[in-house]
């Protein structure tokens, strides 16, 4: 499954790179892109673990910057 999420308060390009690196480490994630300019996260991962992947990705994002949020729709 592949999905694009909007992000809020992603205010540094370096953080975006770190978030991306951490999200890629999550089990079952096939690809992840955090775009500082588009303020978006594109996540691709296994369907079976999808919900957990999204949850862990949100956590990985707030670990890098507590103010930043993924808007999970």
């Amino acid at each position: 499954m592949k999905k694009t999420f909007a992000m809020e308060n992603l205010d540094c390009a370096n953080c975006a790179a770190k978030m991306e690196k951490n999200i890629l480490k999550i089990d079952g994630v096939r690809s992840a892109t955090v775009s500082f300019f588009a303020q978006k996260l594109v996540l691709e991962g296994d369907d079976a673990r999808w919900d957990e992947i999204v949850k862990e990705a949100c956590k990985a994002v707030s670990r890098v910057d507590a103010d930043c949020k993924v808007i999970a729709k």
Partner: protein, 620 residues
Amino acid sequence: MKLTKSQKRTLGRILLSAGLLILVSLLRWIGILPDVWYILLPCHLVAYLPVAWQVILKAARNVAHGQIFDENFLMLIATVGAFVIAEYPEAVFVMLFYQVGELFESIAVGKSRRSIAALMDIRPDEARVERNGEEVILSPDEVQIGDTLIVRPGEKIALDGIVLAGSSNLDTRSLTGEALPRSVGVGDEAISGCINISGLLRLRVIKPYGESTVAKILELVESSSLVKSKAENAVTKFAHWYTPLVVIGALLLAIIPSLITGEWQRWLHTALIFLVVSCPCALVISVPLSYFGGLGCASRHGILVKGANHLEALANADTVVFDKTGTLTRGSFEVVRITPVSGDEGTLLAVAASAEQASNHPIAESLKHAYSTRSAHPLPQADGIEELAGYGVRAVIDGSTVLVGSAKLMEREGISYIAEPDVGTAIYVCLNGAFLGSILISDRIKKNARETIDVLHACGVRRAVMLTGDREDAARAVARDLSLDGYAAELLPADKVERLEALLKDKNGTLVFVGDGVNDAPAMARADLGIAMGALGSDAAIEAADIVLMDDDLKKLSTAIDISRYTRRIVHQNIVFAIGIKVLFLFFSIFNMTNMWAATFADVGVAVLAILNAMRTLKK
């Protein structure tokens, strides 16, 4: 310039801090504040806290999450260190300037983002639809195929449709970058995203909103900034190593020389300067910002690039492979020359068009089209029209037998004729056994083709090659006229891919394939970079290509290369400039040739200049 709420708050804090710092320094200068640490430290802390508070909070939270080397933490250490060695004004200044840099960065990024959003302001908000004889306003999503869309002058076309009634001119500028309006009449396709300029149009909707041109383009543009360039990835990697290395360097500088020389104060100071220049922000932000601007600039010119990596690849174009028909040539047959034996061109054209009037063969169509635009003669009445399959036609005009057709026809009928020397399809006309003249029909080379090929060569493209399915002589003529570096003719789609493979083996940069994206999808996919031309209204082309030129003007190709090279140049400038200045200051600090004020200026100044430089790509 409009600031957001949080930007205004940051600005307020910066001003407050700056004011307090100036006040404290003044008081100290005129001698009101005694130079003792228990007075100076609290005074400077008051000036420090407004700008530092958030940084301290963030650093604490991130350290708690195990993220140690972030810029907040580094700035905190640097300033706390400055307080410890009693460099009070420096401590405040470092934090103050760091915040100025952050604020500037946020304003610059916001500005770029907004100007790109404005560029792509093609999203239709509503659609005026006729239902049960009444006009209703719907969201474009709710409109269905077959609905009748009403577009008044000045309104945006919300969905792709066919004109049922009315005629008008459409402003396609936001899609193609082309200022010349496109005229549409009954039966023409009107593309969503265009603005209706002059007349009221009624359209039959042919695609749902999600599949309409405007939705496709928006989707493409929005996802393009998600694909990163190699330079961006390299910079991210660099930042990943740079910061910890500098921090370790700072630590070593603080300890080792101090142990040897005993000058703790001096080396601690050096280490703090190291920390101040340890933030790679200038690079990490300016490289993606440059590409972001480059992508935005390209879309303003009607060039949609599907990702920064493609823009980067285009700048390295080494070999450009063209499809012929529809790419280098117009792809439509046209009368290019009329050669009557005697008399005028108009008469000859009128006779030929009259004999061909019942046919809808492309050749006949081009004759009729040329007649209607060039000849003032009334069309003579033709009777007894007889198609001679593979040869031409025979007809009777004003009692005379007319033959219109190929050289084979003339030979079969035993008529002596003057052969047309140039490449193309020659049509010969004969009246009552006497040769009247010939008409040359051919596919024309696009008007900017020659110029574009020259520009490509001038800007370092080594080879411009044409691969075509067309006949050898037609291909040779085009290759010669455009001074191409090579061509191959009479190729099937599979042959094209094979030829491409051979070219791919022998290249020094990017191999670009330029085509119309409809029947050369395999070649486009095989090339390093696929560019589709004239893609407005062609979904297949938008899907298949990496870069989409919205109209079929070849000049856009050189514009695209121009933008890509300009962007690359700016990225290189920023990388060299930012790393250069940082390394310079690291050296200066080791040899005690600089101070914290200068280092702060250097750090934030580099970031500001790099960002300003990066924003130039948007304006190109």
